[in-house]
């Protein structure tokens, strides 16, 4: 259950023209893969990339221990195990660990999603050994204290309850429940089911899950920034020495069709904005051959200010602050294709009509050669920009591994984009999507649902 534990956003965050693109930097890297060092150390896939940044080291990593691996009797166990990683180890309590990190301004956090437990860290160059040591300690030896477990259950329930206030979260949850069958990693269980599982989970359940799934077998550690690669390897060898276990990355079956209602409303009072999702399962993983063509097509429909949806539904007609389309949830399993939009209740029907008009034209008529050419340079340029920072590079490297590519993909991606033809793009739309059978979710104070 991927919940943000941050309760609220800062006040008065500057208003952006569109908020999603406010925090990127830029660097264009030549030949990334050639400069990456990859080694198996203590059974761990270690990937290190030294950049020109001064004094900063960024870590990312994961192992397969996500919600989809939950035992049949309790779906909350993977989330709870991940939640206990920063609540103390067999040798020191959570305050002592936090003090070590805080004292040097280092960061280390864990999160559980549908397929993996991921970690994210950042420190100054001199503190790399400290962070690697704590990472190993927390992954290997969580204390699983009863007292902390009781607190975590309440915190998790609170975070879940707070998320229910968010129209976007509610729409996403309803969409996943509608298009994915139970058992598929992208299915999201109901809040009630998760809370019930939370109630009955025990420390013994957590220990059993940890023993089965936590280990180096499919653990990847990525480090990027101002680092000495040999020092890093030595620290990892020392910190993880003697650790065994874990499981291979699971292979997930494709989603089977559902018979869910194709038009659903999640009524939430006092919400002057309605969050909307229109979409379907794509049947595609990121690395499937057709996926790159469909991603280009989807970018033309709904990415950036010159994408068709923003250019018409927002810029020309003024019906929304934000609307876009994307392929998502497709790293480890087949994912989904969706349009995400916001509309005032009074403009909801008009907004939906415009959205459907654009979707229909795109589906039936395809994209143009000019759109394809422009989008190739846009995706290629923005990919390079996304590698600007240590965060961006670390994310890209880990995603490349997750998608099952060789790291050379990081250098080859622009050429792969360039090789896609107009026919491939337009064929992919028709082959994988069907607007007549898409699911529509509306979450908020939906006029048709409020009587």
């Amino acid at each position: 259950m991927n919940l943000s534990l941050s309760a609220f956003r800062p006040r008065l965050s500057a208003l952006c023209l569109v908020s999603a693109v406010c925090l990127l930097g830029a660097v264009a890297h030549a030949q990334i893969a050639a400069n990456i060092v990859r080694a198996r150390i203590s059974g761990i896939d270690v990937i290190a990339y030294q950049t020109g940044v001064r004094d900063v080291v960024t870590f990312r990593g994961s192992l397969p221990a996500g919600d989809s691996l939950a035992p049949p009797n309790n779906l909350a166990i993977p989330t709870l195990v991940g939640g206990m990683l920063d609540k103390g180890t067999t040798t020191e309590d959570k305050f002592a660990i936090a003090q070590k990190l805080d004292a040097v301004g280092a960061e280390l956090s864990f999160a559980v999603d549908s397929t993996t437990v991921t970690f994210s860290g950042k420190c100054l160059r001199k503190d790399m050994p400290l962070v690697i040591g704590l990472l190993a300690e927390q992954l290997r030896s969580p204390a699983f204290s009863e007292e902390e477990f009781a607190k975590l259950k309440k915190q998790t329930a609170g975070s879940l309850q707070r998320a229910l206030e968010n129209t976007g979260y509610r729409a996403g949850q309803a969409f996943a429940e509608a298009v994915y069958p139970p058992g598929h990693p992208n299915y999201i269980p109901t809040t009630e089911a998760f809370l019930a599982a939370l109630d009955t989970a025990t420390v013994a359940d957590l220990r059993a899950f940890h023993a089965k799934y936590y280990g180096p077998a499919a653990l990847t550690v990525v480090a990027v920034g101002d680092l000495d690669v040999e020092d890093l390897k030595a620290e990892i060898a020392k910190a993880f020495a003697g650790w065994t276990g874990g499981v291979a990355k699971p292979v997930y079956p494709k989603a089977t069709p559902t018979d869910a209602d194709r038009d659903q409303s999640v009524f939430m009072p006092d919400k002057p904005n309605v969050s909307v999702i229109i979409g379907q399962t794509s049947g595609l993983k990121y690395s499937d051959p057709d996926a790159i063509s469909l991603r280009i097509a989807t970018t033309i429909l709904g990415s950036g200010f010159t994408g068709r949806l923003m250019a018409t539904v927002r810029d020309k007609e003024g019906l929304t602050y934000g609307i876009g389309s994307k392929l998502t949830n497709d790293t480890f399993a087949d994912g989904d294709w969706r349009i995400v939009a916001n509309f005032a209740p009074s403009l909801l029907e008009q907004g939906l009509a415009s959205t459907r008009r654009e979707l229909k034209a795109w589906y039936e008529q395809g994209v143009t050669p000019a759109e394809l050419a422009r989008t190739k340079t846009n995706l290629s340029g923005s990919f390079k920009v996304s590698l600007a920072t240590t965060d961006g590079l670390a994310n890209a490297i880990l995603a490349t591994v997750h998608r099952g590519y060789d790291l050379s993909w990081l250098d080859e991606y622009p050429q792969k984009l360039d090789a896609v033809t107009l026919d491939q793009v337009n064929a992919a739309i028709k082959k994988h999507l069907n607007p007549d059978n898409m699911v529509l979710i509306k979450a908020g104070t939906v006029p048709t649902a409020a009587k």
Binding site: R9, L12, R54, Q155, F305, G318, G381, K384
Partner: protein
């Protein structure tokens, strides 16, 4: 601790310079060299007073170009609240020279080359920026300079953009905490324009006429009310030459930029606000008046905020979150041109009571005021802030976007010197600022109280979509 992101970024370690050290300025005819601090050189375009900051950074063939206008929602009055932000949106609607019909609009140019670009508005400033390959810099400067004075500003653009911005307002209103935050500021500030939020009041967003937006543009969008920042793979002289080429012909503002003379009257007692709306869990916010971001106490206030709320060892995490009374605590220490607020937010856990959480928070504040803090707490907070500083030097764009807030606060050199100020904060400083600013009579306390409807309306079956 949100505001450390605005307070702890320094270029000194990047460049290996001390604040006093200066680089040789670029000599470009038509520019007056002002100063160099931390590797950033400041120039003034003599023809019109445009302020220019340049920081060469050659690790990649990329450059960030940004123009910051010294106008924000603090420059608005009743009837034009939100106008700064609405105008920012209209700045993308085109000019006679650059527009969508011609295929050379700012969106078309920048998306074609894969640039990261956007614009933002806040209390004290509005900025427009792009992070792009150096070979595209001149094209972007040409558009940016052109729209400084040649914007179309048509009613036919305002009408659809008004509903876009209104939807942005509605998205904010969906979040009960943002609604509470607006009410806290509106109560804490009765005269000074921080009273209203940057998005503005709904009725002003809907009704402000194009003529008032035009007047706003004609008052504030001039070169002598703007700062241009260029960071990245550029030769300073060449970059300045481009600035001169495109901005040099624009005249100075025909009239002086109006100064804001309204001052907030002294607050003479604690204030309270309550927001009741549908929701799940409550929130308590306690706001205190603090000085301008340029004040010498800013560094100590941020250390204080970190000690109270940053990390598992912070005082309020231990007193509230670790006891399952809150799901999270934070301190937003305002960093603005004028005096603003430091707000402690405590987000209630299921079953927790507002009064209990408020009392514990205030008890912790009073305990800190009377007993002070330990040297270890100060050291930990300072190290967290300084590490954030290093993390935020990760890319030219990150540097530019943070420097932007220091430009807005009224002294960009603080961006370079703030780390040294944070390093010097002592336990005595923290205790002193707590006793100076965390005063009950200068406080505004807000509660968000979630109200569940007596009976949620049953969803009405709808026809399947056509």
């Amino acid at each position: 601790m949100k505001l450390r992101h605005f307070l702890s970024f320094s270029l000194l370690p990047v460049l290996g310079l001390s604040a006093a050290e200066t680089a040789a300025p670029a000599a470009v005819d038509g520019f007056h060299y002002v100063k160099t601090v931390g590797g950033i050189s400041e120039y003034t375009l003599e023809a019109n007073g445009l302020d220019v900051l340049v920081l060469p950074e050659h690790s990649a063939p990329v450059v960030t170009f940004m123009v910051t206008y010294h106008v924000g929602s603090r420059n608005e009055v009743t009837g034009t609240t939100g106008a700064t932000h609405l105008l920012e949106h209209l700045m993308f609607k085109g000019t006679p020279n650059f527009n969508r019909a011609k295929g050379n609009s700012v969106d078309q140019l920048l998306e074609r080359v894969g640039a990261v670009y956007n614009a933002t508005t806040w209390l004290d400033r509005t900025n427009y920026f792009a992070n792009l390959g150096r070979e595209h810099l001149e094209d972007y400067i040409a558009i940016e300079a052109d729209r400084m004075r040649n914007l179309w500003l048509r009613e036919s653009d305002r009408r659809p953009e008004m509903t876009v911005v209104r939807n942005e307002f509605e998205i904010g209103e969906n979040n009960p905490i943002q609604a509470l935050d607006k009410e806290i500021y509106a109560s804490a500030y009765v005269a000074q324009p921080y009273h209203h939020s940057t998005i503005g009041w709904r009725s002003d967003i809907e009704n402000v006429p194009i003529e008032k937006l035009r007047a706003f543009y004609d008052v504030f969008y001039w070169p002598d009310n703007a700062t241009v920042t260029i960071i990245g793979d550029v030769d300073p002289a060449a970059a300045l030459g481009l600035v001169k080429k495109y901005y040099g012909a624009i005249p100075k503002a025909p009239k002086p930029i109006p100064a804001i003379y309204t001052e907030e009257p002294a607050q003479s007692g604690p204030r309270r606000v309550t927001v009741k709306r549908a929701g799940q869990l409550g929130v308590v916010g306690i706001a205190y008046k603090i000085p301008s971001g340029r004040h010498s106490d800013t560094a100590a206030l941020n250390v204080l905020g970190a000690i109270l709320t940053s990390g598992k060892n912070s005082r309020l995490y231990r007193a509230l979150t670790d006891k399952n009374l809150t799901t999270g605590v934070s301190a937003d220490v305002g960093f603005f041109h004028d005096p603003s607020l430091a707000i402690i937010y405590a987000s209630l856990a299921p079953g927790a009571k507002h009064a209990d959480v408020e009392k514990i928070t205030i008890d912790e504040v009073e305990r800190l005021k009377s007993g002070g803090v330990t040297a270890a707490e100060v050291s930990s907070a300072v190290n967290q802030l300084l590490a954030s500083s290093a993390y935020a030097r990760d890319g030219a764009f990150a540097i530019a976007s943070n420097l932007n807030e220091y430009i807005a606060v009224g002294d960009w050199t603080l961006y370079v010197t703030i780390d040294d100020a944070i390093k010097k904060v002592t336990a005595e400083d923290v205790k002193r600022v707590a006793n100076t600013y965390l005063l009950e009579d200068q406080s505004t306390t807000g509660w968000f109280i979630p109200v569940l409807p007596p009976e949620a309306p049953a969803p009405v079956p709808v026809q399947p979509a056509k």
